[in-house]
């Protein structure tokens, strides 16, 4: 079996480590390019959201490289992603691909279902091997998150443009190659040191902008036109509302073991504006915006794929949140044709707005 899965930011590094530690061959889709996007759009329904199109592009490129089994997450709506596993299976079968698809549905407190599907992929193995694989995967996931957080904080202070991104990429590669949690930790430590030494004084006051929105668009730089890097290079400290390890903890771990209570915080923060689950990250988008306003950030940018229902609901509520709490909010709706230039124009204007309002407050 040669296993593959869709890409989501740097998630593949941790997932690959997990599966390989269980003795499974992993064939990663190559990093997304224009070709991925073209293959995906060509074979997807036009009104489907960008994540579906990018997933299809990933699968096709991975199948070309020899993958024969695809793992995809399921879901129970209202976000359409819950259907995508099945939709994608039918699309790929329709164009004559030969593969097996495993859709992992949310266990909703029935861990045996997940474990049964996991056994289907891994075959029966010793418990100690599972524990080791999970430890390695988890250590990579949390190391990547720490690295990303630091890059977002330091990028506006880098001495010459591109230094932080260079150190970041090099460290990601080292984390990817690490064979044990200990090696992961040392790769991270070296990377953090390299980033810190690439910066001038980091104490001056820079504007802070929070990124909220749909998980795929927030986490996948190719899909969001590298919004974090661009803002960082304009001298903005970026705060991101979603990190992979938090996401896995909230949506996978806590869902498998229902004994752990899911965080109620998003609902508490969003309550004055939205008190109902609307699917995807609709509630979290509102909650994070409220949270960022209270933290005193200078602005919030919502990123959403075109036609995303949960984010459309959030988008319609954000102007009220923005007015009530006095924080500027901009929405970027992105699709396959979104040009980097158009996004850059809006980002520049938003940063100008944020700077002007900071100046006037002083």
């Amino acid at each position: 079996m040669k296993l593959t899965f869709a890409r989501l930011g740097n998630f593949h590094i941790a997932a690959k480590a997990l599966f390989e530690a269980l003795g499974i061959d992993v064939v990663l889709p190559p990093p997304p390019t224009k070709r991925t996007m073209s293959l995906g759009s060509l074979n997807s329904p036009e009104f489907a959201c960008l994540p579906l199109k990018m997933n299809i592009g990933n699968y096709l490129e991975a199948l070309e490289k020899g993958a024969d089994t695809i793992v995809m997450v399921g879901g129970i709506g209202p976000c359409r992603l819950g259907l995508y596993g099945e939709v994608q299976r039918q699309i790929l079968e329709g164009i004559g691909c030969d593969f097996k698809m495993i859709v992992v549905e949310p266990p909703q407190g029935r861990p045996d279902r997940v474990f049964r599907q996991l056994f289907e992929i891994t075959g029966a193995q010793r418990i100690s091997q599972y524990v080791g694989a999970l430890r390695l995967g988890w250590s990579k996931l949390t190391a990547i998150d720490s690295l990303e957080k630091l890059a977002l904080r330091l990028r506006p202070f880098e001495e010459s443009k591109g230094d932080i991104s260079f150190a970041y990429e090099a460290t990601l590669k080292r984390i990817d190659e690490a064979g044990s949690p200990k090696e992961v930790a040392s790769a991270l430590e070296n990377g953090q040191a390299a980033m810190k030494s690439a910066c001038k004084k980091t104490d001056s006051d820079k504007p802070g902008i929070g990124i909220v929105g749909e998980v795929f668009m927030v986490l996948e730089p190719f899909a969001n036109c590298e919004i974090e890097k661009r803002l960082g290079e304009m001298g903005v400290v970026v705060h991101r509302s979603i990190y992979l390890s938090d996401w896995v903890m909230e949506h996978v771990v806590k869902d498998v073991f229902r004994i752990l209570r899911k965080s109620k915080l998003p609902y508490e923060l969003a309550r004055p504006y939205l008190c109902h689950f609307v699917g995807g990250h609709g509630v979290e988008t509102i909650a994070s915006t409220v949270d960022y306003a209270r933290q005193g950030l200078d602005g919030v940018i919502q990123v959403a794929p075109f036609t995303c229902m949960p984010e459309i609901i959030a988008q319609d509520l954000l102007p009220t949140v923005s007015r009530d709490l006095g924080i500027p909010v901009m929405t970027l709706v992105l699709d396959e044709h979104s040009s980097g230039t158009g996004v850059l124009t809006r980002l520049e204007a938003f940063v100008d707005l944020v700077r002007m309002s900071r100046r006037s407050r002083r």
């Binding site: 390019t33 500027p328 850059l344 204007a349 938003f350 707005l353």
Partner: protein
């Protein structure tokens, strides 16, 4: 004009505008040209015309704006390269102090900018739809055989504006054709179209924004009296079209060049009027470094590379 001044250039999808202002921001010269898909020639032609009337002016600073701001900035040697949203806000606030809402409709873009106490607090730009922008109005004027500068005035002669669906340019056009075939007067159809486009603008670009007077309407489409009247009717307030509504982006760019000069107080990077006789050329090639196949643009002045951009990874950006 002798003496000294600041130059502002706005290279948009449809028009390229140039303004020359003095140190106090008073407009001295303005030019409105068609970009015609060739921004370099448009900038050169504009500068040639400007040199003819003001070639002896000492240029203290240059600002560029619009979707071609980077290219124009390299060719001219700009001190300040700013996005068109900020440029339009700066210009509107300078010409109509206290402005709270700016409606800007250009060739392919439309924007709304909300200001309070002179500070931009919110803005939006059309994303997936260009219905209601200058290009569409021009196309409809041409289809009806009416000169674009007469198009808006005709709308004012409407008696009963017909209802046209403004959601999509294609559907709006078929709606218009249908109304024509039914025998409606052309004035009523054009007026109905203006109302439809205003509704579309307010529901798309202006969605969720609190539109407070004074409202300023600028950009090429502000020349259209029918659109102005339709905005006034829909908003129930007076809409101000500033004197230089068609070059506000360039004006904003020039005003920001003054600010930049005051902040840095250095020599301008302006290459001079004479530099326009140089031979500027662009060359595009596909980078084969990875499957992204980025289209790299290489800009040369007399066969010497002066700028390069277009790569996702940035490997071609440094010369």
């Amino acid at each position: 004009m002798a003496g000294s001044g600041y130059l502002g250039v706005d290279v948009g999808s449809v028009s390229t505008n140039l303004v020359l202002i003095d140190e106090r921001g008073v407009l001295q010269e303005k030019l409105y040209l068609r970009t015609q898909g060739d921004p370099i020639s448009a900038v050169k032609e504009g500068m040639r015309r400007l040199a003819a009337v003001a070639g002896d002016t000492e240029i203290l600073g240059v600002g560029t704006s619009g979707s071609g701001r980077k290219l124009a900035g390299v060719i001219l040697g700009a001190d300040c390269i700013k996005n068109e949203i900020t440029a339009h806000a700066v210009a509107a606030n300078c010409r109509v102090p206290g402005v709270q809402t700016v409606i800007e409709i250009g060739g392919q873009d439309s924007k709304i900018i909300i200001l309070r106490q002179g500070i931009v607090i919110d803005f939006a730009m059309n994303t997936v739809c260009a219905a209601g922008t200058g290009s569409f109005l021009e196309q409809q004027a041409a289809r009806l055989g009416i000169a674009i500068d007469q198009f808006g005035k005709l709308a004012l002669g409407a008696v009963t504006p017909v209802r046209i669906a403004g959601r999509c340019a294609v559907f709006a056009e078929s709606d218009m054709i249908h109304k024509q075939q039914m025998g409606h007067r052309i004035e009523d159809i054009i007026s109905g179209l203006c109302e439809a486009l205003v509704r579309n603008y307010l529901n798309n670009v202006g969605k969720g924004k609190i539109i407070e007077p004074p409202v300023v309407f600028q950009g090429g489409v502000a020349a259209n009296a029918g659109m102005k009247a339709a905005f006034e009717k829909e908003l129930g307030t007076q809409v101000i079209v500033p004197e230089h509504y068609d070059v506000m982006g360039a004006l904003g760019a020039a005003l920001m060049a003054i600010e930049e000069k005051n902040r840095k107080d250095g020599q301008s990077a302006f290459r001079g009027f004479a530099a326009l006789n140089r031979d500027y050329a662009t060359r595009t090639f596909e980078c084969k470094g990875c499957p992204n196949l980025c289209e790299i643009v290489n800009i040369t002045m007399d066969n010497e590379t002066i700028a390069r951009w277009g790569s996702r990874c940035g490997r071609w950006d440094s010369l």
